[in-house]
């Protein structure tokens, strides 16, 4: 035996957690800033002040400070959120990068154990099956083999969002920006300008949420594929150990509790994205078209504080500031699911190599 050692702990496994935590901190911070700072400020700025008052705000006024906050903060907060996404991806990449070395060690371990198992000539025992988990995990595991279909579905949804942008939103933008500002804003209800404006704002309320459901399905498919790999590795372990006599057979460890955590994290992520889609559809069918189907110059701009139109404007101008970061929270749960699923695979690979080496030592 001699030269083959149990797999060493790769350096990547000591650092991936740091990036996953960083991802959570950045994404959660952006959600909290959006929910507790930006959205209330937008609601107050647009909902409590008429346009004339907002436009007349002088330098140093409280009103201009609100506008400054609303215009400046998202310009650094959005890249910060994506830095969080990149941190998650980097953590996942680090985990993936630790696998080739572990596989190399596993190949060597199995290679030295193979002739020993053959030489011992133990009769093959039955291959055990893991007990079926209870609900909802049995349902989740039952869906796992469908991951290619779910990945394609996610891809098609994002593709559809692109087509809506190209074939509906883009022509509507071109129609709205076909004339001078005074003409487009002075256009009356029923005109092509007002109709185009309604289409633009309605699509912007639900299509981004729809697109993120597609991305969420893509991430869910990745987690499901990782879960399938973990199951297949476990089965491989059972098959190999079934060829080893009972007195030397390595005892397979139980399914780690982390499996349930990554499954729940994935479900949670998809539920949040679906919830965001429902909110987007409700907005796109209700307050958004109700507000924008007016003449901008003669109805929307003169709206006075306390009017129904200005309170609708408060909703229309503030929802994206908390809904967009909420979607990212959903994505963070999905990335967490992938991160944990990878730890299960890595732990399984390393444990199996350890067990096989122990068997080799005993058999030798």
């Amino acid at each position: 035996m001699a030269t083959v050692q149990p797999p060493a702990t790769p350096w990547q496994l000591r650092s991936y957690l740091l990036f996953s935590l960083l991802g959570w901190i950045l994404i959660a911070a952006s959600f909290l800033i959006g929910l507790l700072v930006l959205a209330p400020t937008a609601a107050a700025y647009f909902g409590e002040n008429a346009k004339a008052g907002r436009d007349a705000a002088e330098a140093g006024s409280a009103l201009l400070a609100q506008l400054q906050l609303l215009q400046a903060t998202p310009r650094w907060l959005e890249p910060l959120t994506f830095l969080g996404v990149a941190a998650f991806m980097l953590g996942i990449a680090l985990e993936f990068s630790s696998i080739p070395k572990i596989l190399e060690n596993r190949g060597k371990v199995l290679s030295i154990c193979f002739p020993v198992i053959a030489r011992l000539q133990s009769p093959k025992a039955s291959v055990p099956q893991d007990a079926k988990p209870g609900l909802p995990f049995s349902m989740i595991e039952g869906m796992m083999p469908l991951f290619p279909l779910i990945a394609v579905m996610g891809w098609l949804i994002v593709g559809l969002a692109f087509l809506i942008g190209l074939l509906v939103l883009s022509p509507a933008e071109a129609a709205f920006f076909a004339d001078a500002k005074a003409v487009r804003e002075g256009a009356a209800i029923g005109s092509s300008f007002v109709e185009a404006n309604v289409v633009i704002h309605s699509i912007e309320a639900w299509v981004p949420q729809f697109k993120f459901v597609g991305l969420g399905l893509g991430l869910m498919a990745i987690t499901m594929a990782l879960g399938t790999i973990a199951k297949q590795l476990r089965r491989m372990g059972f098959v190999i150990s079934s060829h080893i006599s009972e007195n030397l057979r390595p005892k397979m460890p139980p399914i780690p509790a982390r499996v349930r955590v990554f499954q729940l994290s994935t479900v949670m992520g998809v539920m949040i994205l679906l919830g965001a889609l429902v909110i987007g559809v409700v907005l796109a069918a209700g307050v958004v078209p109700a507000y924008w189907s007016h003449s901008i110059a003669s109805e929307l701009n003169p709206a006075a504080p306390g009017s129904a139109l200005l309170s609708e404007l408060a909703t229309v101008s503030s929802y994206a500031l908390w809904l967009n970061p909420l979607r990212m929270i959903g994505m963070a749960f999905l990335f967490t699911g992938i991160t944990i699923a990878l730890t299960v695979i890595i732990a399984t690979l390393r444990k199996q190599a350890e067990l096989m080496l122990k068997f080799y030592e005993q058999a030798a």
């Binding site: 990068s97 190949g107 199995l110 093959k124 933008e173 098959v239």
Partner: protein, 241 residues
């Protein structure tokens, strides 16, 4: 070709580091753009719309190209993960061959080739990267247009009528952004599909290797039994799972 892809895939850490650096740089640029926006919106409407033209042009143009630059970074990280999967696939194949090399060549079970989705994975990954690049190039063009539009006082931009150059430019920016924004997400979704293809290939290989190792063990046991003079059937007590 596959060997070349396999060799190139080993450079995946470079892609991942580059991608993360790009996203971090995007955050820094975003921070400075936010400072410009804070200074711009600290002035009254009449001042900013007539005097702070360069600031407005800078804010608008950075806002147009920066998201695509950031997504190129995310795309490189995802591409790096796909390439890492390729390295894992190659290592998994090598490990399987190493185990089966214990059997004499003529008795070794036949190993099947990679499935079609495994072969297609690098192409799908490259398609995703191409989408990010195209989106970035188009967005840089739009940013240049925005720079031209907003170097005029806002009163001039607002007064631009049908058929004027400024309104056509404004129309182009708005109409193009409408499909360009979802395009970059389509790039991300394409990278996810490439990752799923890689993971499916791993599942395929693991399933195949489980069968091959089982067959190999039976062959090995039979060989050992023959060497000892024990009847072959004595070493088999098949109880299917």
């Amino acid at each position: 070709m596959q060997k070349l892809i396999g060799r190139m895939a080993r450079m995946y850490p470079l892609l991942i580091v580059m991608g993360f650096m790009i996203v971090a740089i995007a955050f820094v640029i975003g921070y400075f753009n936010a400072q410009t926006a804070a200074a711009y919106y600290a002035a009254s409407k009449s001042v900013r719309e007539s005097q702070l033209l360069a600031e407005r042009a800078s804010i608008e143009s950075v806002g147009l190209w920066l998201p695509y630059f950031k997504f190129l970074g995310l795309g490189l990280i995802l591409g790096g993960i796909v390439m890492a999967l390729r390295v894992i696939i190659d290592r998994l194949k090598a490990a399987g061959m190493e185990v089966l090399s214990n059997l004499p060549l003529e008795k070794r079970p036949a190993v099947l080739g990679a499935p079609w989705y495994g072969l297609l994975m690098p192409a799908v990954m490259m398609l995703g990267e191409l989408i990010f690049l195209v989106a970035l190039i188009v967005s840089i063009g739009l940013a240049g247009t925005a720079q031209q539009v907003y170097s005029n006082p806002l009163a001039v931009v607002d007064a631009a009528g049908a058929g004027s150059a400024i309104l056509t430019q404004l129309q182009t920016i708005q109409a193009t952004s409408a499909w360009l924004v979802p395009l970059k997400f389509f790039g991300v979704a394409t990278e996810f599909v490439a990752i799923v293809m890689g993971l499916s290939t791993i599942i395929y290989l693991l399933t195949q290797q489980t069968q091959l190792i089982e067959q190999g063990l039976e062959i090995g046991k039979a060989g050992a039994a023959a060497a000892k003079g024990v009847p072959e059937s004595a070493s088999r007590e098949q109880v299917p799972a």
